[in-house]
């Protein structure tokens, strides 16, 4: 579903990614872990076609980036720590706007379906600026799944959420993954990643330092695996 070969990304003289090799199979939930500055967000932005690779090959859903970016974007849903929503529009208006941007026709029933999924049906006519951070993040997920993408990218989705909002987001993420989507999520929260992901990749110093499937790890052993990968 996602194939990345020898990916390098430079900003001026600074090299952020130094030859990343990464592969995700359909239906996998991959947690991309790593310290601050490891290049996780840059990597996800390249997969989302928001940044161009300096070197290397990136294929998402069988389409090459950056040359077939529009095809990739049609199959991709992205959630970041920013909501990507307009505060002066209602929840419904935000979703309607993005539905039109994604070329969806007959989107009314889809908007209702998505609002029910994220538990915001009763707040559909409220301005987004009146929403709590947790509600905005749920609506951001609704925006990202509106066009029913095959692949979801989550960049630190738990940033700034309180305990209740994080638990609610867990449920939404589980629903999204249970629908058979391929998910790549960056996070600092090892416990949450361990609860959700089927595979764990550690990005450190611009390369994938280690990778392990859930079944390869002993129970609650992700922290030790993470520390070992960073030390190595």
């Amino acid at each position: 579903m996602i194939t990345v070969t020898k990916l390098v990304k430079r900003f001026g003289y600074k090299t952020i990614l130094r030859g990343v090799d990464f592969e995700v199979q359909p239906g996998e939930f991959v947690a991309l872990l790593g310290p601050n500055g490891a290049g996780k967000t840059t990597f996800l932005r390249i997969l989302a076609s928001l940044a161009r690779p300096s070197l290397g090959e990136v294929k998402v859903a069988g389409y090459k980036l950056p040359s077939e970016a529009a095809q990739v974007r049609a199959r991709l849903g992205v959630v970041s720590h920013l909501p990507l929503l307009y505060g002066d529009l209602t929840a419904e208006e935000n979703l309607r706007f993005y539905a039109q941007m994604y070329g969806l026709t007959n989107y009314r029933s889809r908007i209702t379906e998505v609002l029910e999924m994220i538990g915001l049906e009763t707040r559909r006519r409220d301005l987004v600026r009146t929403f709590s951070r947790g509600m905005q993040q749920r609506l951001a997920i609704g925006r990202a799944v509106l066009h029913d993408p095959q692949i979801m990218l989550f960049d630190e989705p738990y940033t700034g959420l309180d305990q209740d909002a994080s638990t609610m987001l867990d449920d939404v993420l589980k629903t999204v993954a249970a629908q058979g989507r391929t998910v790549v999520m960056t996070s600092h929260d090892l416990a949450r990643a361990e609860a959700l992901a089927t595979r764990f990749d550690i990005l450190s110093r611009g390369v994938i330092a280690a990778s392990a499937a859930r079944k390869q790890l002993k129970k609650s052993n992700l922290l030790a695996f993470y520390k070992q990968a960073l030390a190595g």
Partner: protein, 234 residues
């Protein structure tokens, strides 16, 4: 046949995306009045400052009308362009737009049309105020055409440069530094053409700056159409 129906669908998505951006910007603005009110108040202040600073007799006052008018539009326009793109950037909405599976020039045209609409709304409010304060009749079809052409050129290049400057930390300072030298030709032609209309000059005398304005409009829109994708991608 299949290829032509696919092309039709791509074109209709393109137009729909432009329409969606314009609808979204107008809807949000008519709810908050954040942008237009700031532009209007700023315009009013500029006009008042010029009015009291230049204590001119009626004849001289008429001769500076075009310059004062375009200085006001340029300053207020810069304020609007900056704010319009900053609203997209601050909540990450620019990324939301860039993630849509449409040609990115659709985003440019959507933002360009809504920025132009905001500028024209402010101009429509400023003109009567200016007419009263400066005792000049500004409601002339020729002058309104020049204002429209000048605003198109200014907003066309301004939207592109605002998309570039909004990605920097010094966006508030950078936009006017980039925009004024590039838009100088548009502003100069607009001032000349406006002055000509206000002084009742023959069309043959005003034709040159008007033709220049049309050429600049076409060049700026075409250049922005080609460059926008490269400017917004990292």
């Amino acid at each position: 046949m299949k290829q032509s129906s696919e092309q039709l669908s791509v074109n209709s998505n393109y137009v729909r995306a432009i329409g969606a951006i314009v609808w979204k910007d107008l809807r949000a603005e008519f709810r908050s009045w954040e942008l237009v009110s700031a532009m209007f108040v700023f315009s009013l202040l500029v006009i008042l400052i010029f009015n009291f600073a230049l204590e001119l007799d009626v004849k001289t006052r008429q001769s500076v009308t075009a310059g004062v008018l375009w200085a006001t539009f340029a300053f207020a326009g810069t304020l609007g362009l900056n704010r319009s793109m900053a609203l997209e950037k601050d909540r990450g909405c620019l990324d939301g737009l860039l993630l849509a599976p449409v040609d990115r020039s659709a985003i440019y045209f959507g933002k360009f049309i809504s920025n132009l609409a905001f500028m024209l709304i402010v101009e429509a409010i400023v003109l009567p105020v200016y007419s009263v304060l400066y005792n000049a009749n500004l409601f002339q079809p020729g002058l309104i055409m020049v204002i429209l052409l000048g605003s198109v050129g200014y907003t066309a290049v301004g939207t592109l440069l605002a998309a570039m400057s909004v990605q920097t930390r010094t966006r508030d300072i950078l936009l006017p530094i980039l925009l004024f030298p590039v838009a100088f030709a548009v502003l100069l032609s607009a001032v000349k053409a406006s002055g000509g209309f206000l002084e009742g000059a023959d069309y043959s005398e005003i034709a040159f700056p008007i033709n220049l304005l049309i050429v600049y409009d076409i060049i700026f829109i075409a250049a922005s159409f080609m460059l926008f994708d490269n400017i917004v991608e990292e």
